[in-house]
């Protein structure tokens, strides 16, 4: 556990302890366990999925206590595995003290969630989503490790606008320790992996100096209709590791190599309409990441990702729901058709997905999702060392039990 994690976890503990001395507060305990299954017809995506994998699970337990009318503390421990990412190691998902001074102004201190788009804060809460996977065009699993939470703080509030509805806002800032064996390592590795030459990369450390951002939501006078805009910037995401290359006599040479994203910027715009049994949503996002790397052949470049999706979810029976999602990811929004790529299909990933959800009781959720994927824009080359092949059919299943 890092020093930052220790501080973040101590904040609620100290406050809880102080309250405990005066009076024993009630502590609410909740949790969930999810087990999933992924299978792709061709091409590996989000793991070694061709042939099927059960390396897709999550578990969390959280503790919250309302110490006073306006002060609440809590923490959530979380573990997940997605084909080796996470490896079910327990870590802190969030841990903060929340002082709700006014409806228009509250404060959170500790490890706080990153506010981004409509659903980023719920990316690891299967129960809250109608689909197995969030739309990958906007909520890219490759970045989930460092878009979940930051050690720092946030301010938030709801401002009534009378006939114009209301406005929700949240601004956050902080830093974090990124796991060197997580999805960011996989992403960096994909820049250097080459099955033909036998080149690979592994991070020893990944650090992030700072991340800050804000999100604003206009809840319109039409109940259920809202618009959101969010923006964030992160600075100095640095991966320090080694490039492995074949050496003489079958040996492997390890050459120091570091990759730094000096500045990354993201904007999301979206809208959601939810009414009784229906939920419609649409979002778009753009990323700019300026990066450079050292090593045998230093260089620099800019990533210009973009993505969008539309989704409709409908609860057609009290315990049954269905969702349809269409989305597209662009690896370089300046060249969306991929005419500058060796294979144009590397430039995008277009997905159509249908999901069926059944909640037999309120504390169990079962989902089955089928997706048709055209393109390889978000598939890691190291997971497909023999190259890519055709379109991908993906089956995702997930069962979640909560308490």
């Amino acid at each position: 556990m890092s020093k930052q994690q220790l501080v973040a976890s101590l904040v609620p503990c100290v406050l809880a302890g102080a309250a405990f001395a005066a009076e024993t507060p009630d502590v609410e305990i909740h949790g969930f366990v999810s087990q999933g299954y992924l299978n792709t017809s061709k091409n590996n995506y989000l793991g070694e999925t061709q042939g099927g994998t059960f390396d897709f699970n999550e578990a969390a337990i959280n503790f919250q206590s309302q110490l006073t009318d306006d002060l609440r503390v809590g923490a959530q421990l979380y573990a997940r595995d997605l084909d080796g990412i996470g490896q079910d190691r327990v870590g802190i998902d969030w841990a903060y003290a929340d002082y709700h001074w006014k409806d228009a102004l509250g404060f959170r201190v500790g490890e706080v969630k990153v506010a981004r788009g409509l659903y980023n804060e719920y990316s690891d809460i299967d129960l809250a989503n109608p689909t197995v996977l969030l739309p990958q065009a906007v909520y890219d699993e490759r970045l989930r490790d460092f878009l979940t939470s930051v050690y720092g703080g946030s301010v938030y509030g709801t401002i009534p606008m009378h006939e114009a509805g209301s406005f929700d806002y949240e601004a956050f800032g902080g830093s974090q320790t990124v796991r060197p064996d997580g999805s960011i390592n996989d992403f960096v590795r994909s820049n250097f992996y080459n099955a033909t030459t036998g080149t690979d990369y592994e991070s020893n450390t990944i650090t992030l100096k700072s991340m800050y951002g804000a999100s604003g939501t206009w809840n319109t006078p039409l109940r259920g209709l809202r618009f959101v805009v969010s923006a964030l910037q992160f600075n100095h995401l640095l991966s320090v590791g080694n490039l492995s290359v074949p050496g003489p006599g079958g040996s492997t040479l390890y050459l120091p190599l570091s990759l730094e994203v000096s500045k990354g910027q993201n904007v999301v715009v979206g809208t959601e309409y939810s009414q009784a049994k229906l939920r419609l949503a649409a979002e778009g996002t753009i990323w700019n990441m300026e990066y450079s790397f050292t090593g045998p052949a230093p260089g620099s470049s800019v990533l210009r990702w973009a993505g969008w999706y539309v989704q409709a979810a409908y609860q057609f029976l009290p315990r049954w729901g269905a969702a349809a999602t269409i989305g597209t990811y662009y690896d370089n929004r300046l060249h969306p058709t991929g005419n500058t790529y060796a294979d144009p299909r590397l430039a995008y990933q277009k997905t159509v997905a249908l999901t069926l959800r059944f909640d037999p009781v309120t504390w169990v959720a079962l989902k089955a999702e089928g997706a048709f994927i055209n393109g390889y824009g978000q598939m890691f080359v190291q997971e497909n060392p023999n190259g890519y092949d055709g379109n991908t059919l993906m089956l995702s299943l997930k069962a979640t039990v909560s308490f």
Binding site: F32, Q66, Q76, D103, S274, P318
Partner: protein
């Protein structure tokens, strides 16, 4: 007879409820009426402060028919959507869900002793000691 049977089956299938509900509050609440958007914000954990001052503390009813009717009438939500909304709050640390009252009498007793308490009971229930809160659209 067959028509009534068909209507009953339709009602069961569509989970329609014949019960009507009324919103009640602690007698000392700083307001006597609320907008439905305000009520929705309190029940979804988005806001706590009452327009007239003080904090609102909301309660849900273990009676499923009454809860379904309340959610439909005042929040435009199904029980599943309400549950999903609170799951988001719980698992992001944004709040603790409302406490369930066992039945209408328990709801009245809880509201009586909770400053800022707001809940709901079936219309026609004797609500001595609490205030019927007027909810405007």
């Amino acid at each position: 007879m067959i028509f009534r049977l068909l209507m009953l089956m339709l009602c069961v299938t569509m989970s329609c409820s014949a019960v009507e509900v009324q919103v009640i509050a602690n007698k000392d609440l700083s307001v006597t009426s609320l907008g439905s958007d305000d009520l929705s914000d309190f029940y979804l954990g988005k806001r706590k402060k009452l327009p007239g001052g003080g904090n609102a503390t909301v309660f849900t009813n273990a009676d499923q028919d009454e809860t379904e009717r309340f959610l439909d009438k005042y929040l435009d939500l199904t029980p599943a959507a309400f549950s999903a909304s609170w799951k988001r709050m719980i698992f992001t640390g944004r709040g603790i869900p409302p406490t369930d009252a066992k039945d209408d009498q328990d709801m009245i007793d809880i509201i009586k002793r909770t400053p800022g308490g707001i809940g709901y009971v079936a219309t026609g229930t004797k609500v001595d000691g609490v205030m019927v809160l007027i909810i405007s659209k």
